[in-house]
């Protein structure tokens, strides 16, 4: 699942081109940002598609439960068990007679929450580790980075499975497991950034006027590493959502009656001969969401990375 990561070394050169003096000038980054944003939205229709789907996804996460035509949890086995798509149930019903559209809409929020929490922890922890390792160097760097390498040495999903299974099967533990496998990528990425940024003149200048180290790190180094971190987050939202659903599908993660998409598909498996809609629609929702975030991530990388030869 992590096979498509950006090489931090590539990323380091990507943002390391601007002259430090220009960086200091407030005007330039702003206009540059606008130019990049324009290139991002107008330059490629796929990016726009990604933005539209993600917007819809976020909208459903906020209001999906309110807008759902039926109650996502109320069962009605006698009247509406495993009904195909119809006007009352546009995406059909499940084995307990619950409306699938309503459940998929409600499930959106779980995916957003998971992505927010998992990446929130992973990015914070990884950034702190990377910042400290890159800034202080020496044995601190050595210890922290070997630890990071150790986590990176496993296939991510399998490490997550091991941790989630050891902790016990529920959504909270799965989020802990995923945060554990995501943070090392951020540690490595941020460290590479810090290594190049800390040599710049404005950082040296900050040191020479006696600015405390913590302030240099937070005010001068971290903001300049931000764009790279943000690109990586965009690329990872899709992975985080996909990984959660995958773990839920194998019985870790969210448990029934949760309308988490992977959990729904795990149950749907038992009815696949009679009810294709039951497994088809949660999968389509998941695919579109992951696709949309990937498109945005790729697009952002192209737009913000001046080196990239891709359109």
């Amino acid at each position: 699942m992590n096979a498509d990561r950006i090489d931090p070394a590539t990323m380091a050169t990507a943002t390391g081109t601007a002259s430090p003096l220009l960086d200091e000038a407030r005007q330039r980054p702003e206009s540059q940002l606008r130019k990049n944003l324009k290139r991002f939205l107008v330059g490629n229709r796929l990016n726009l598609l990604g933005v539209v789907i993600v917007a819809l996804f976020l909208f459903l996460a906020a209001f999906g439960e309110l807008l759902a035509p039926h109650d996502p949890y109320t069962a009605d086995i006698t009247n509406s068990k495993l009904l195909g798509p119809s006007l009352t149930h546009p995406l059909g019903t499940d084995e307990l007679g619950r409306d699938l559209l309503s459940r998929i809409m409600t499930g959106t929020r779980i995916s957003v929450q998971v992505a927010l929490i998992v990446l929130g922890f992973a990015v914070t922890f990884g950034t702190v580790v990377g910042l400290i390792a890159g800034y202080f160097g020496g044995w601190v760097d050595e210890v922290l980075m070997r630890l990071t390498d150790m986590f990176l040495a496993f296939p991510a999903l399998i490490l997550a499975v091991a941790i989630a299974a050891s902790l016990g099967r529920n959504l909270r533990n799965t989020m802990i497991a995923l945060a554990t496998v995501f943070w090392p990528w951020y540690a490595r990425l941020v460290r590479a950034q810090v290594l190049s940024i800390k040599e710049r003149e404005y950082v040296q200048a900050a040191h020479s006027i006696g600015m405390p180290q913590s302030r240099v790190m937070l005010r001068h180094i971290l903001p300049n590493a931000a764009s790279v971190i943000i690109i990586q987050i965009t690329l990872d939202v899709g992975y985080a959502i996909l990984a959660t659903s995958s773990l839920s599908f194998i019985g870790l993660g969210a448990q029934p009656p949760s309308p988490e998409w992977g959990t729904m598909m795990s149950t749907a498996r038992n009815y696949f001969r009679d009810a294709w809609w039951y497994m088809a629609f949660p999968g389509i929702a998941l695919t579109l969401t992951v696709l949309a975030f990937n498109l945005i991530g790729d697009g952002l990388q192209d737009a913000l990375d001046p080196r990239s030869g891709r359109r």
């Binding site: 699942m1 992590n2 390498d149 496993f154 399998i158 050891s166 995958s246 599908f249 749907a268 088809a280």
Partner: protein, 335 residues
């Protein structure tokens, strides 16, 4: 130089496995579940539970239990599976070949299709083949592999009835005499054509589904690598001195572009194992992925921990092999 690399990597392997065993062991013993009760079953008497606790060494202090666990694991003794009651290493020996057979074919397909596709799409930018390869690489990363598996099963088994829904062979067919434990190879070696046909039929869907994600990664890496190389000066020089376009691509560009793709070899093993966890459940494939998932659901710690340890070991070993291979392929690298 190579021996130094190998020694360093082996040392790292030991460290990694030690770390993983420590993580999973600590975590699994923080949970308040009582494994002895689970082995004994809900209706066992108190003394029966106590006896199991004694037999499995669950009364020892945790550090002692951990040391015993590591001692065993070094000699591939991972204890007994709580659910199958067999030694876990025996179970793994039984299920690993099925996963390897699945992964091997998926890997071959991803490489044999992905490399030419990536090269062609880089050489002919914006042609139909480029669009096709980008469709594959974008969709391959977004499609949940378990969903793809379910849908493939639904169409090709449920609707069309062309292919079997799972397992390695039909129940009525005996497996071929074991030589490599890979059914296709064994039935080929023993000249058992009918079994060969059956095993290939059963492999087809799981392999294709599993290969799709890897295909996306390979195509993407090869395409990216080729585009970068094709933009370089020496390629322009080669073209300028009048070499045939075909020859430039084959002799000058591909050699350099494919080198980074070798690295993806190691990554793919991780991807394939992760995918196997999901694909094997859908297709009732008797491999380690399904074994691990069953173990997770039965709260079978020994089996879960051993499976993840073994897979991690294979992953690290393959990456070590890739590093060494790289050393031979790229003389510029000095370690």
């Amino acid at each position: 130089m190579i021996t130094r690399l190998i020694i360093r990597r082996l040392f790292f392997l030991v460290l990694v496995l030690f770390g993983l065993s420590l993580i999973t062991f600590t975590l699994s013993h923080l949970v308040p579940a009582d494994p002895a009760r689970m082995i004994a079953g809900p209706r066992a008497s108190k003394s029966a539970v106590e006896k199991i606790r004694e037999d499995y060494g669950l009364n020892d202090p945790l550090p002692v239990q951990y040391v015993n666990y590591v001692k065993g694991a070094v000699t591939l003794d991972f204890g007994r599976s709580f659910s199958s009651r067999r030694p876990v290493s025996e179970d793994l020996g039984r299920y690993l070949p099925a996963t390897i057979e699945l992964g091997l074919y998926a890997f071959l397909i991803a490489t044999v299709v992905g490399v030419p596709l990536g090269v062609a799409s880089a050489v002919k930018r914006d042609s139909w083949i480029d669009h096709f390869s980008r469709f594959i690489s974008i969709s391959g990363l977004a499609l949940p592999v378990f969903w793809l598996a379910l849908m493939a099963q639904f169409f090709f088994f449920g609707k069309l009835g062309w292919l079997p829904d799972g397992q390695r062979l039909p129940n009525s067919v005996d497996p071929p005499r074991s030589i490599t434990h890979l059914y296709t190879v064994d039935s080929l070696l023993t000249g058992n054509w009918e079994t060969l046909r059956y095993s290939m039929e059963h492999l087809l869907l799981p392999v294709l589904v599993l290969a799709y994600g890897s295909l996306a990664v390979v195509t993407r890496m090869v395409r990216g690598g080729m585009i970068e190389v094709l933009n370089q000066d020496y390629i322009r020089t080669a073209r300028a001195k009048g070499l045939a376009s075909n020859e430039v691509v084959r002799k000058h560009a591909m050699k350099n572009a494919l080198l980074p793709a070798v690295t993806s070899l190691g990554l793919q093993v991780g991807l394939l194992f992760s995918g196997a966890f999901l694909v094997e459940i859908v297709f009732s494939w008797p491999g380690v992925g399904r074994y691990a998932v069953d173990a997770i659901q039965a709260v079978d710690y020994n089996a879960t921990m051993a499976t993840t340890l073994v897979i991690a070991a294979i992953f690290v070993l393959v990456n070590m092999f890739v590093d060494i291979l790289y050393l031979f392929l790229d003389p510029r690298i000095a370690l």
